[in-house]
């Protein structure tokens, strides 16, 4: 009898603990959002949202204080778009190779190997880019005057986003029923036709979700881009902007937070950047989530 009561109480405690853990996760996100918002609000009293988003000059320590975030937003955009352009085709190719073309033994080795890339600290990628890859580009290409530029950040981010993209794409390919693949072959398709015309369309939701999650990773990455993109808060111009130094939103926060006086406009402006970043990643992740859900429904 006593045993039964104790058992039931224990059950109740465990259930509540799990419940609290779940609720805590949500509360934390809300608190972070509140923290960012409350620290950004003083900024909105000084400058309008329009001024902040479209101003082309970021110079918060200037006597007049210029808080135009456009160079930073574009900096992030350049680096991120560049990273996606590099990592999506590469990631898709690796995923196809692992899922469909590699011999079973190689597959068992390759997938963990790619996933291991995710375990390398970002500062190591930054270090590698700064000391090895950047100087190599500078030496070998005359068009690149400085060994720290937007596309170098993209390249480094590409390696960092690769595990996410490969892993999720590969799962998406695996969840396509084998008979879909075989049906296509049985209709006289070659292996390549089957991959491009049946497999990729069948896995498309998973592939899009993989890209969006990779995007989320790339846009939020700080240390690597801070180290390799040159830290110049200038407006990137056209395609040339890719081989010139830029400054991303994340790098700005990391670089300036230490020197901004507590409670100053500068201080608040950095939180505003954080709020903007939070909003962007939130939208991207939500989008990815919706697509993943839809793909699960498709397969069921």
């Amino acid at each position: 009898m006593l045993n039964k009561v104790v058992g039931r109480t224990w059950e109740w405690v465990i259930e509540r603990l799990i419940q609290i853990a779940g609720i805590l996760g949500i509360i934390l996100v809300i608190l972070i959002f509140y923290f960012l918002l409350s620290n950004s609000l003083p900024m909105f009293a000084e400058r309008t949202v329009g001024e902040l988003l479209t101003g082309t000059r970021w110079s918060p320590t200037h006597a007049e204080g210029h808080f135009g975030m456009l160079p930073l937003i574009l900096g992030s955009l350049y680096v991120t778009v560049g990273a996606l352009v590099l990592s999506v085709p590469l990631g898709l190719a690796v995923a196809i190779f692992i899922a469909e073309l590699a011999p079973p033994k190689l597959r068992e080795f390759l997938k963990p190997a790619v996933e291991l890339l995710a375990a390398i600290p970002s500062v190591v990628f930054g270090f590698l880019g700064m000391m090895v890859v950047g100087p190599w580009f500078q030496r070998n290409f005359e068009a690149i005057p400085i060994g720290q530029f937007a596309a170098l950040g993209s390249l480094m981010l590409c390696f960092m986003a690769l595990p996410t993209i490969v892993s999720i794409c590969e799962d998406a390919f695996h969840s396509v029923p084998r008979e879909v693949f075989n049906s296509s072959l049985a209709l006289g398709a070659t292996r390549w036709q089957t991959i491009t015309r049946a497999l990729i369309p069948a896995a498309r939701s998973g592939i899009i979700a993989a890209c969006l999650l990779g995007l989320g990773r790339a846009i939020g990455e700080t240390m690597t881009v801070l180290m390799v993109t040159g830290n110049a808060q200038v407006m990137p111009e056209g395609l040339k902007g890719f081989i010139r130094p830029v400054r991303t939103m994340t790098a700005t926060i990391a670089a300036e937070m230490g020197e901004a006086a507590y409670g100053s406009t500068h201080f608040h402006s950095l939180f505003t950047i954080g709020l903007l970043l939070f909003t962007i990643t939130f939208i991207v992740n939500t989008f990815a989530d919706v697509i993943i859900r839809r793909s699960e429904k498709d397969i069921a």
Partner: protein, 309 residues
């Protein structure tokens, strides 16, 4: 169940008897005189029906296997099988699970090539030509020998694109060409009337039976000569099964059909010839009526009486 005629009289279920009628009527299509039909239909004695099957058994041989052996690594899945598959006939392969009937089916369009460790020895001849020679072009072989799988598995795209998939692998189709192929194939698979207004809808929104007919339409679109069906009805309900069986009887006028089935009633309802497999061996291969009424081998007898499997 053994004799079409008696079961017709005994079993009131519509599905059953209608399917039977189809089978009984089949030999008639080869004959010209009208009276014959009536007489046969009225009396319908077992002998006549079976004898007629024998008489019409002179369709051309489409596929021939000679001393066919299949190994999965060291497992001997098919043991020295010789059989002939004829045009305008439905050949049923029956037997307990794991007896090798699906393996044999996959030999005929070389889908065994896709299975790691599978090895085929012996010959498979289609129209007298070996399909396991070095010159065999897999793509054109598989276009000639279409396959319908156990699970309805349309591609996750529109109904239209599913049907046009095969032809589009070969060349670019004009709008009109594609429209024509899609309509002809869907009509061939008895699906056109149900989907003609929804061709742009996702194929995954169709019911299971419709999906399976779509898969048949998808095969027909590449204009095959042989249709392989690997338990095409096992995932379907009885009425959908009936539609597919009806369809098979229509299709056999133009194709050689090989069906693997676990359902012996299905084999007896639709097929002209039946092969019974056991442990990789083709135990008995004969006219369907004979297999079900007067099997020569004790093991066949035991299986069709439901003693094992």
């Amino acid at each position: 169940m053994n004799s079409p005629a008696t079961s017709d009289a005994l079993k009131p279920e519509e599905v059953q008897s209608e399917a039977m009628e189809h089978e009984e009527n089949q030999p008639e299509t080869d004959q010209t005189e009208g009276p014959r039909y009536e007489e046969d239909f009225m009396s319908g004695p077992v002998q006549t029906s079976s004898a007629e099957h024998e008489q019409t058994a002179d369709h051309d041989v489409k596929i021939e296997t000679r001393d066919l052996n299949v190994f999965y690594d060291s497992f001997h899945a098919i043991k020295s099988v010789d059989m002939e598959i004829r045009n305008q006939e439905i050949t049923a392969l029956i037997g307990p699970s794991g007896c090798g009937k699906s393996t044999l089916l996959r030999c005929l369009n070389r889908m065994n090539d896709e299975i790691p460790g599978a090895r085929v020895e012996g010959e498979v001849l289609i129209d007298g030509k070996s399909i396991y020679s070095n010159e065999t072009d897999l793509v054109s072989l598989r276009r000639r020998v279409g396959q319908v799988f156990q699970q309805p598995n349309p591609f996750p795209m529109s109904i239209y694109d599913n049907v046009a998939y095969g032809p589009r692998l070969q060349r670019r189709l004009s709008r009109d060409e594609a429209d024509e192929i899609v309509e002809r194939s869907l009509r061939g698979a008895a699906l056109w009337d149900e989907v003609k207004d929804d061709l742009r809808k996702s194929a995954l929104d169709l019911s299971g039976g419709q999906q399976q007919r779509l898969c048949i339409a998808r095969c027909l679109a590449v204009e095959p000569e042989v249709l392989l069906m690997d338990e095409p009805c096992s995932a379907l309900d009885p009425s959908a099964t009936f539609r597919i069986e009806e369809l098979m009887l229509e299709l056999k006028e133009r194709y050689a059909i090989v069906i693997v089935t676990h359902n012996m009633y299905q084999a007896s309802r639709v097929s002209d010839r039946t092969g019974f497999f056991l442990l990789g061996e083709l135990v008995e291969f004969d006219m369907t009526t004979r297999i079900f009424e007067d099997p020569q081998d004790d093991r066949t007898d035991a299986y069709i009486r439901g003693r094992f499997g």
